[in-house]
Symmetry: C3
Subunit: 356 residues, 3 copies
């Protein structure tokens, strides 16, 4: 039981933004694995186990020599497949000397890593994160490294936007969110939560983006891909202009993006963006939106993190206490079920503790 | 065994000074329980479990709405009995949805909480702490929150004042303390240690308070109420004026007060005061006495805390080592026996490790 | 299994430099034991268990009274044999009241302590550390207290100087080290690793010390005494002047000295020196050499420590992973075998995890 992890290993996880990985050594811990990343001369990214075969020193403390990594302790060299190609003071190289190489895919401006069985890694199964491509949608996000909570608490948070009313009361919160029922559908490894708020006063952030007087229809369509990617199609349009039926031309549309990567059982990296299809050339607006999310503890995500980390501490202090669930948790519950199915497939057990 | 606590749960423990609890949320950990406190509109104090029924977020991170607490995550509302009165986005409220409410009593300028079985909580059994009332005796104390030691080490410390000679050599220490035998009596849940030092030179602090030349009789009568309240009647009077027989008119009399509340197994909150019956209107003296106790590491209590926290670390480093006891420990041993009796009543075991 | 230690207890370990121990109380943790040291009036050093018999307060928080230690809590007094000679408020002293006294030897400018069975402590078995005497060899070293790694990682490091090429590339590293095979011999509790590099260009540090143009012969003769003392006879001489045959007159000769003392299972104190036989009166050179070793993170030992502490963290993160070994590890492997033999003698088990 002690070795059960709350995350599936056979999955693609975001490890870095593409622009972060250069021809130099970068260290990341992903799903409990220490990994060193670098970009090769051919432009591809290599991800190796970050511990020398010989004496475990992190290879990220060494240096690149072409496409190979030289250990900073005794000079062993490993190629981009993880095979040792040089040992000091000896001519024969132990043929079993190697470090693990992890499958890597670059897609949608992120570097994805597969920490599990390499034979199962299919680049075609990298999550759909096309909103992040910088083409139809624009926005500049970032990463919270080592957020001090189980990655599933972030998913819970994003799959139920009711919390906006309480955690983000002054910006995007709205009583209408709480008052409006939500609809949940699921299929394969995905879950979709849909909430339409018809004929409301838009909350401050959205009223400002809409820039027109009058009542609005607001939507929140949150799309989860197990185990850890969320995209939230959100926006407002003038009431009566057909948004619920598909015509968003009289509205403004954004999408919050989250690729949440377990670092350890109780910490995670959170790659985020908020992209939009309106005023795409307005760089000041891009900066303002980034700042609305992350701003020295005052942004929307900063507020979430305070809550999430406090929640993790409370869980640690009450280890036997299960979660109780409300109607609003339907999306999160289905997301957890999808994760549990993946875990059951790998580990033969279901993990989520929940009393319903 | 792992769940055995060194403190009884069915007891009143000081949680705050009355003036600290206002119509706003205050968090305290008492006997391992996270508790949120606030004062209601009717002036009474409410103490609730500080973890939302839904997802465990500390309620102290939410806000008060009248006499009810609104959770800062999803807006669940709990009344002062701990019952949930509102759930977001649903009309029916799960009737079992509640957080624990703890019995509270306000007495002697302190808020007392009963962390155990509410059915057993009788306000008439709040410890006698009348010296703290601000009437016959005056003084302004304070609280050390999260002192890093088992609360019983503080009791050991206060039940044997021999340590004054070594820890507080320059203020209230005196070889006479060590040279004079003590008398211990006990009854029910109380223990009394009495030491009279006849015809001595008063130590610096007391000589100054007495303000008269000549030899003195000094007394230390320390009164313990299990599990964790100590009052120490101390003072000096001119020798031969009848103090041992009950006439303290030619002396000065103070009382140190300690309500020590377990925070965890190895940390405690220490509510203290030093009150007196002489020069009661002298506010500068009140400030001086406070400063003699707590003064950036140089006060008498600061000195004790350095010793107590070092002692706790030493115990942690020597987990199998029992305490050895001296004659001077008779009072502390009886106090521990009273605690052990309470623990045995609750848990069926005796805990204090001591080789005698 | 939980109580197995990676260090033998029946051995002499360096605890302090002689000049550090004065007639005042100094605390050290050695092999997991808290110890208080002081110099007596007769000039000898006493080492006692640093926890009062009564209530465990560190005696190092008390004070010396002549050659005896007064506890800072209740005034118990212990003599330099560890026997209690005074208890407060009682005339009879419990005859079993004592703290442990550890055998001590002063030799080669260091204070050595024997943490194990005193009956086995023979001062004649203090490691040979004569290079440190300040007579034939000169140098001023120091101590790293609480280095955050298993003491055996330091030994591994010193027993294979191949690492110089990678960790100290700019000062003493040299490809020749890696290219030259080493010779290992052992006997009793000692291991000797010898490497001669003939007709090479001396690396920058040594070229400067030699101060003569031309090719050089370089030697590294590292001598280990189990469990934890290393002396490394190192130097260069002009090629062809007979150094390998024993005539070092045309060369410069130094010796690095290391007495590594386990503090806990995963931390150690590292007493070091670098002594030399050339330009012995040049105090500026002495200062320069000290600075080459320890210099705000830029010295040779600073570089080692960064590696050693990172290696310890990596071992902690990969608890089941054994070490793999190379030819260059022959000296370290023999050193570990000598340690294992001592552990097997004491504990009946062999501990080093190594896959060969």
């Amino acid at each position: 039981m002690a070795d059960l992890k709350p995350f599936p290993m056979n999955a693609w996880y975001a490890a870095a933004w593409c622009h972060e990985i250069k021809p130099e050594l970068s260290a990341r811990k992903i799903c409990g694995k220490d990994i060193v990343l670098y970009r090769r001369a051919d432009g591809q990214v290599t991800a190796l186990e970050d511990a020398c075969w010989h004496r475990l020193l992190p290879l990220s403390m060494g240096r690149l020599k072409g496409d190979e990594v030289v250990c900073g302790y005794h000079g062993l060299i490993f190629n981009s497949s993880g095979r040792c190609t040089y040992m000091p003071a000896q001519k024969t190289i132990n043929p079993s000397a190697c470090v693990r190489a992890y499958p890597v895919a670059e897609k949608h401006r992120l570097v994805w890593i597969w920490p599990g069985d390499p034979a199962l890694a299919d680049p075609a199964t990298v999550p759909d994160f096309h909103w992040n491509d910088g083409t139809d949608w624009v926005g500049e996000g970032g990463t919270f490294y080592s957020l001090q909570c189980d990655y599933r608490l972030v998913i819970d948070n994003l799959m139920d936007l009711t919390h906006e009313t309480y955690v983000h009361a002054e910006s995007i919160g709205h009583d209408a969110i709480t008052d409006t029922p939500l609809d949940v559908t699921h299929s394969g490894r995905t879950v979709t939560v849909t909430r339409w708020m018809i004929d409301i006063d838009a909350p401050p952030f959205w009223a400002k983006q809409l820039g027109k007087p009058g009542r609005a229809d607001r939507w929140q369509i949150v799309y989860f891909q197990a185990p850890s990617v969320v995209a939230g199609d959100v926006g407002v349009a003038l009431t009566g202009t057909g948004a619920p039926q598909g015509d968003r031309s009289q509205g403004v549309n954004g999408c919050f993006l989250a690729a949440i990567t377990p670092e350890t059982d109780k910490t995670c990296h959170y790659f985020w963006n908020f992209v939009r299809t309106f005023r795409k050339d307005d760089e000041q607006l891009t900066r303002n939106i980034t700042r609305a999310h992350v701003n020295d503890g005052k942004g929307v995500y900063d507020q979430d993190h305070t809550v999430l980390e406090a929640q993790q501490r409370a869980i640690d202090n009450n280890p036997r206490m299960p979660f109780y669930n409300l109607n609003i948790d339907a999306g999160a519950l289905w997301a957890r079920r999808k994760i549990d199915e993946m875990l059951a497939g790998e580990q033969g057990v279901v993990q989520t503790q929940a009393a319903e």
